[in-house]
Symmetry: C2
Subunit: 117 residues, 2 copies
DNA sequence: CATAGTGTACTATCTACATAGTACACAGAT
DNA sequence: ATCTGTGTACTATGTAGATAGTACACTATG
């Protein structure tokens, strides 16, 4: 994985895992890699990996069974809620930024339509 | 000014100043506050303020006359270019994020239309 | 020439982030 | 009971960002 130096790595890994969960690349109830394995996969420190799981657990997206591992929540509502929050967050950020740049919503929509992909 | 703890303060001040320049709240050729005054206005350290100006100068948005102060560039092309880059950046970020969330461009446009403001 | 305002260059300190390494506690399997 | 895999806790180190304080050099003005 390629990291953006402007934002803490642990936040970037959290986002990556949330997207895996939202897009069901990792399914509800499924076991996540151990913190040590996660550290290897993402080339981060085991401490940072542990921090990632603690934060995901705090947000209710995952839960931990000591000695067993960390698992994705079985509560699909939590996962949907997480997706909603992320969508809302990036929409609000976008609107705020274009507003500051003096770009109207209509112009922004045109810009989006004009993108090839 | 209110700062986001997730991003370095000096980057946030740089963005704020760029928006002032783009929106002509500070005009082309105009003198910017001294680094010491900027530090007071934004409640940051004089060193951080100096760093802000060094970065803006590196990007060609401002220039410095030693002993005189820092001024907005007279090159309107540079300012327009800066605005274009910021617009492009936030559009690309937005599209990337909604794509990762499994939201299509059409859905995103609907979301934007449905915002009140 | 003296002064005030300015950019610039240091050193020092503090915090958050990230890494490195070690140790311990719990759960399941053999 | 032992072993393995797991989460958890701790100390130590390095770096970047931010702050604090000081000092110096340049420019315009009086």
């Amino acid at each position: 994985m390629q990291y953006d130096s402007k934002t803490p790595i642990y936040l970037q890994v959290i986002t990556a895992l949330k997207l895996d969960i939202i897009n069901e690349r990792i399914k509800s109830g499924e076991k996540l890699p151990s913190s040590r394995d996660l550290a290897v996969q993402y080339t981060i420190n085991p401490n940072t990996a542990a921090r990632v799981y603690q934060e995901l657990e705090r947000e209710g997206v995952c839960y931990t069974k000591r000695g067993m591992g960390t698992f994705v929540t079985e509560d699909m509502g939590k996962i949907k809620q997480c997706r909603q929050e992320m969508a809302k967050g990036c929409l609000e950020d976008f609107l705020k930024q274009i507003n500051e740049l003096g770009i109207t919503k209509e112009e922004a929509i045109e810009m989006i339509k004009n993108t090839t992909k």
